[in-house]
């Protein structure tokens, strides 16, 4: 059997945790899985393993999936999360869903438990990876973090050789901050609004999907002393989900 291509669906915001009718992005992600009852594991690390987040995950995914979660804060307390062999469990999934929150705290905790290398291995193996917000930023080389002080570029896992900026429409200053960071030498990358997902096959952007008719994503790169922002063709899932089409983007971003 040929190996499955690595895939990441990076959401600017949205999915079960953020949208009341947030099923469209989650449905799109589930449509990428072959299994009839896929194994889906949730990593709520970026929220500090917040209970309400874990509950919402199970509410959304346990009806159709073999749902589980890994808690890195309560490994001693038997809270129903996976506790023994994290690597074996994660590497047997069809989908790993990374929750939102604080990316720097999440990556710190992941490293302490060896999850960073497990997740790289899982991606190479063809397990689909996805998540909103911090669950998107973490896959990229650099992310714009606006946590405690002025926004600044922070390092992610560097699986996708670009930068990433999420919630692009949520804060008026975001766009200017991201453009300034790219002008100051941050890698070229993708700015993504809430409700919009970037679907990567390998490290190549294959498709941009949205749960909202007006959702947008942009490629942002510096050219000489200027910063160019190019809108990406975005497919509203409310119309296209039933007949997904592969639409080539004009120009894949160079690494």
């Amino acid at each position: 059997m040929p190996a499955r291509a690595p895939q990441i669906v990076a959401l600017g915001g949205g999915g079960f945790s953020m949208e009341k009718e947030g099923s469209l992005l989650d449905d799109y992600i589930l449509s990428l899985l072959d299994a009839e009852r896929p194994r889906v594991c949730f990593l709520p690390t970026a929220s500090g393993d917040a209970d309400h987040y874990v509950v919402r995950f199970y509410r959304r995914f346990s009806p159709g999936c073999e749902a589980s979660h890994v808690s890195l804060f309560r490994r001693d307390q038997g809270t129903g999360g996976v506790e023994d062999d994290l690597a074996a469990h994660l590497l047997s999934q069809d989908l790993i869903y990374v929750g939102g929150g604080n990316m720097v705290s999440m990556l710190g905790a992941w490293r302490a438990h060896g999850l960073d290398s497990i997740l790289r291995k899982a991606w190479r193996k063809g397990i689909v990876m996805c998540g909103p917000s911090a669950g998107s930023l973490c896959w990229f080389t650099q992310a714009l973090s606006a946590f405690h002080g002025a926004p600044r570029p922070v390092r992610g896992l560097s699986i996708l050789p670009y930068s990433n900026c999420v919630h692009y429409d949520a804060e008026p200053a975001r766009r200017e901050e991201y453009h300034r960071a790219v002008a100051d030498g941050m890698s070229a990358g993708f700015a993504v609004e809430d409700g919009v997902g970037l679907h990567f096959r390998g490290t190549r952007l294959e498709r941009v999907v949205s749960s909202r008719p007006e959702g947008r994503a942009f490629m942002v790169q510096s050219q000489g002393s200027r910063v160019l922002e190019t809108p990406l063709e975005t497919h509203y899932l409310g119309e296209t989900l039933k007949t997904p089409r592969t639409i080539a983007l004009a120009e894949p971003v160079a690494a």
Binding site: S47, G48, F73, R75, G101, N102, S105, G108, G149
Partner: protein
């Protein structure tokens, strides 16, 4: 007085304080304020600024609420620092840490605590705060983190984990409340994989001035500390009877007598929070 401008320089070693609790304080003893009042008394400021770091728990709401319930209404300025919840503060971490008189670290996963601090470079800021004379306090993971080593259950079974190393030796906590820890710690001290150190019951706290143990206190009658060392492969264990806080003989600050308790009842009634919480 709290620092408002540039943080002051380092203070002499003997003026640096760390208070390490085996368990207790507002998260574990909501009806017993003795250890937390003792923490406040360690600051030089009359109305100290106290910052709670709930990092080891993942910034859980119950811990933050218990902190507010304990310190709101006491003579202090109380805040908490979340490293998970976005946009609770956009002030630089270094600024927030530098203006405190007391940094109080909660319990939870010691492994996550240290890894997340390092990811935010908070470990360096805390060491610098200690050097400036800011009181460092904490329980459980928040106590073991200051030592060379602690014994953590962050990954399930108890195992040694390196701490920040401001204090020499190793620490194990909840000796009475989680009895599975002590034998593992003793075995590691005996075979030399851990340096000697202290084992603390819930409710017991060690006060260090510089790197020297200055005082052992407790919020509960009967709670104990022990100092353990390995000498030629044999364990030498020494029991330490803590000073029970709240009794006049042990508490030069006036203690926890009936008049104080009465006054606090009045305060609680005025705040409308009623009686004891369970």
């Amino acid at each position: 007085m709290s620092a408002t401008g540039a943080p002051p320089g380092p203070v002499p070693l003997q003026e640096r304080s760390i208070f390490a609790m085996g368990g207790g304080g507002f998260t574990m003893e909501p009806a017993n304020p003795l250890l937390d009042d003792y923490v406040l008394s360690l600051a030089r400021a009359r109305e100290p600024r106290i910052l709670f770091l709930p990092t080891a728990s993942g910034d859980t709401t119950p811990q933050i609420n218990a902190f507010k319930a304990r310190f709101t209404g006491r003579t202090c300025v109380a805040e908490h620092l979340s490293l998970f919840r976005l946009r609770e503060t956009r002030r630089p971490l270094s600024e927030l840490v530098a203006e405190q008189d007391i940094l109080y670290v909660g319990g939870g996963s010691m492994r996550n605590l240290l890894a997340i601090w390092r990811a935010h470079e908070l470990d360096t800021m805390l060491v610098e705060a200690w050097e400036r004379g800011t009181v460092l306090a904490g329980l459980s993971a928040g106590a073991m983190c200051w030592f060379q080593y602690g014994l953590t259950r962050s990954s399930g079974p108890p195992e040694p984990l390196e701490g920040l190393g401001l204090l020499d030796g190793s620490l194990t906590v909840h000796t009475d409340g989680e009895p599975e820890r002590l034998p593992v710690w003793l075995a590691h001290v005996r075979d030399g994989t851990l340096p000697g150190g202290w084992a603390l019951d819930d409710g017991v706290g060690l006060l260090f001035r510089g790197r020297t143990l200055d005082r052992v206190v407790s919020s509960r009658p009967g709670a104990e500390a022990q100092r353990v060392d390995a000498i030629a492969g044999e364990l030498v264990r020494r029991r330490i009877q803590p000073d029970l806080l709240g009794s006049r003989a042990n508490d030069p600050l006036g203690g926890y007598d009936e008049a104080v308790e009465e006054l606090r009842r009045v305060h609680r009634l005025r705040r409308g929070t009623g009686g004891r919480r369970s």
